[in-house]
Amino acid sequence: MLDALLPILLFSALLLAAIGAVRRVRLWRQGRPSRVPVFKGLMQVPRRYLVDLHHVVERDKYISHTHVATAGGFVLAALLAIIVHGFGLDSAILAWVLLAATTSMLVGSILVAKRRSPPPSRLSKGPWMRLPKSLMAFSVGMFVVTLPTAGILPEGVFQSGVGWFTALALAAVIMWGLGEMFFGMTWGGPMKHAFAGALHLAFHRRPERFSKRNGGEHRSTGLKPLALNDDHAKLGVEIPADFTWNQLLGFDACVQCGRCEAVCPAFAAGQPLNPKKLIQDMVVGMAGGSDANYAGSPYPGKPVGEHDGSPHGPIVGRDGGALVDAETLWSCTTCRACVEECPMMIEHVDAIVDMRRFLTLEHGNTPNKGAEVLDNLIATDNPGGFDPDSRLHWAADLNLPLMADKREADVLLWLGDGVFDMRNQRTLRAFISVLRAAGVDFAVLGNEERDSGDVARRLGDEATFQTLARRNINTLSQYRFARIVTCDPHSFHVLKNEYADLGTADMPARYDVFHHSTYLNQLLEDDKLMLKAWKGGSVTYHDPCYLGRYNGEYEAPRSVLKALGIEIKEMARSGYRSRCCGGGGGAPITDIPGKQRIPDMRMEDVRETGADLVAVGCPQCTAMLEGVVEPRADIKDIAELVADALIIKTPDEKAAQSKPASAAPRTVEEVTP
């Protein structure tokens, strides 16, 4: 009986899976078009899975081993089961391999079950709690049913007496297993992640973020530009179907592992954002329905079950309600911690900014100070609404060389909007003194500089971003320089990664951009600077998101600190796992309330290291961390630390080098009567 039943079960499960797959694909295709190389993408899946995805999964060794055993076992077992039981190929060797595969899968599923007893808060419950049992059902069922084929049990053992009942029970178990593993894969069960995930890897919207066989940079963090020239197109994402189809596919790939939730600073601060829930809400919107079936942590302060959506219904209603509340989207600091942690390579920040674009450009609904800041950027080119002609007032005594006068320089020093902030002016002064000590040929744009457009873009105002960027590109194109150096990682990121899209053939916007920590490190490596030994207390270093996760620069600031003679007391969350200071993405402007402040949590991280001083490399981080009440560690920019340790050659030494210059005769002398 079982011999006849098994192929029927297998092939009907496969057929149902195929029907489900078509349905699922049609759900994704509701999205906007996005061109992808289909065949090339599919060919890339094994490498993207085994290298890039596994690289992320491996950060948690336990689950990576578990996944290898379970998924590897399942894929092999499924293929062999189709051959051996589906087509009835009576091969003892294949049967033995099938036994091994199901055993591996069983071991894996036991490990999955162990992880989930009890499940950590970041994991989703609900159907996911059933998954380990379903995995066991499939593996055990397949194992037992293969025993006769492998010759361990006599042929025909399931065909008489007790065997009949065993066979019946076995068929039920296998049916459960097949239902979860084949049918559930395309009809929306937990195994959906395997189907959607594989295709998501193939058709990812940012193919450049995957590694290549020949190595090289594989990072893709700049936001995608929005076409503004079409007069009738809706700007940004209003309804789930406004996402591109491969974005929708990406949302569907989520395994609800909650790694994003665990690292999200807004979630930890009790602001109403949970990246995992947001992605699940997008899936709910895509398929239509309510979020009541969601079985993970909710948005802090927002009970599950009160929101619903449909593919063509609004995501954020003008008067609230709908699928997601606006403050959920405005809580994000765009720190990319979730994207960095996501084993399915989902792009949360892209989605959030897409939805913000609609709120700002179409609804005109940027919360709190958002509208004022954007108006200031439009009218005065800086978020504070300061007189654009007063950009260099802070440096009245520094006699900074202007690009307008010099026309060319080795280094174009991009000052950023920190020029209007008294705290940041100290950093800039320090950095300029270092540049002068190293004898660097630099110049600044002065009043010709404008805001880089970072804040406008993260607040969803793509129009203002593009205006600012184009005008900056225009200004930059008039001068000759080898590189741009800036103390602001946000300007750094935008200039380096986001301006290129707006360049034109006769005005390309590809620049060699350095963060000041990288440039300082280069100066130190070239022996251009002489430093005193560090005499202060213990120091820790806070990685700015826009330098670290956005641009992969973790080493240069650390080696600068090392050159200063500082041994860094690393925080538990540093490097790619650094916790955001709360200052990115316009979060201080939209200022969504939570239970605690993000910078307070970050300074708590600092306190745990016992460091007396935290070295930073970003004006936003400086402002956010320094806003934490005392007692706390001091906050100093790397440029300040280097400037403090500088040994500047005394005038005597300089005179020895350039005697004729200093011996110029005085033309006027004071005559004593």
Binding site: D231, L361, H363, G364, I378, A379, T380, F386, D387, P388
Partner: protein
């Protein structure tokens, strides 16, 4: 904030028939002189949009160029479909053209900013319009509380946060200053898509204007009033006090004729009328 929440919902009896026209002008940023939507005019638009059930139309009279269009589009971004645009030559007096347009469209309420940010910016346009149309004018509108049976109950803003409740006969012109609620954000998408409905109208050249000599205003030094007082309270009071005009009198419970007479007398004394 001088205003309270009560002005966010305004009720009036016959909702469908309330036509509100907002006169908008091209603004100018005080620091950078870039054109923009004028702040007070934008507040007037905001106030019109907060009137439940009112049909709001915007009207601008002025010259045509891309900078100006950009500024006018700023009002469209507040969620308005179109702005009526009466094309006028740069030297034109816009009052006759506006008065003609208002006479034709017969709105019940005309809102506008107290004073433009460009041009003469003398703040007399609403008065001239009211005179030309024979309508009452109210200045410093802070909120419209109720509109029924051809009259409106409004709050007028007085200096130092005072409010006065007035009943005015419609149609009327009301000007809005910075005591009105701030304008909503102007969104890029609707601003770009909104329609500019061009209306041709003859330009009446302002002959007087041509003879005027116009130069940028110079900031005059201001003498500081030094308060010699030992008590911090007195010094603070002196610093916080608004310069009050000396003399003057407050008339309460007088007939309009008596009031007019008093004003007439004062204007004669001051040499405004001869």
């Amino acid at each position: 904030m001088p205003h309270d929440a009560s002005n966010t919902s305004v009720s009036h009896s016959n909702a469908s028939s309330l036509n509100v026209t907002v006169l908008v002008s091209v603004g100018r940023h005080p620091l950078t002189a870039r054109t923009r939507r004028a702040d007070q005019d934008a507040r007037a638009v905001e106030m019109a949009l907060m009137l439940t059930g009112a049909s709001v139309s915007l009207l601008h009279a002025g010259q045509q160029d891309s900078d100006h269009e950009e500024a006018i589009r700023g009002y469209l971004g507040m969620g308005i479909d179109s702005v009526g645009l009466i094309e006028q030559s740069p030297q034109a007096d816009v009052v006759p053209a506006l008065a003609k347009a208002l006479r034709e469209s017969t709105p019940q309420l005309v809102l506008t900013g107290t004073r433009a940010e460009t041009g003469e910016a003398s703040g007399v346009t609403p008065y001239l319009l009211a005179e030309a149309l024979g309508w009452p004018i109210i200045t410093g509108l802070a909120a419209v509380e109720k509109i029924e049976q051809g009259t409106a109950v409004v709050l007028q803003a007085l200096p130092r946060g005072k409010r006065r409740r007035l009943r005015i006969r419609l149609p009327a012109i009301a000007t809005v200053d910075s005591s009105a609620p701030p304008a909503r954000q102007s969104a890029f998408g609707p601003a770009k898509r909104g329609e500019l409905a061009h209306q041709q109208a003859p330009s009446e050249i302002d002959e007087d204007l041509a003879t005027w000599h116009i130069q940028p205003a110079r900031k005059r030094p201001k003498r500081l009033k030094i308060v010699k007082s030992s008590s911090a309270r007195d010094r603070f009071k002196a610093a916080a006090a608004k310069a009050g005009g000396g003399g003057g009198q407050t008339l309460n419970d007088v007939t309009p004729e008596q009031g007019a007479e008093a004003i007439f007398k004062l204007l004669k004394e001051e040499g405004v009328l001869r």
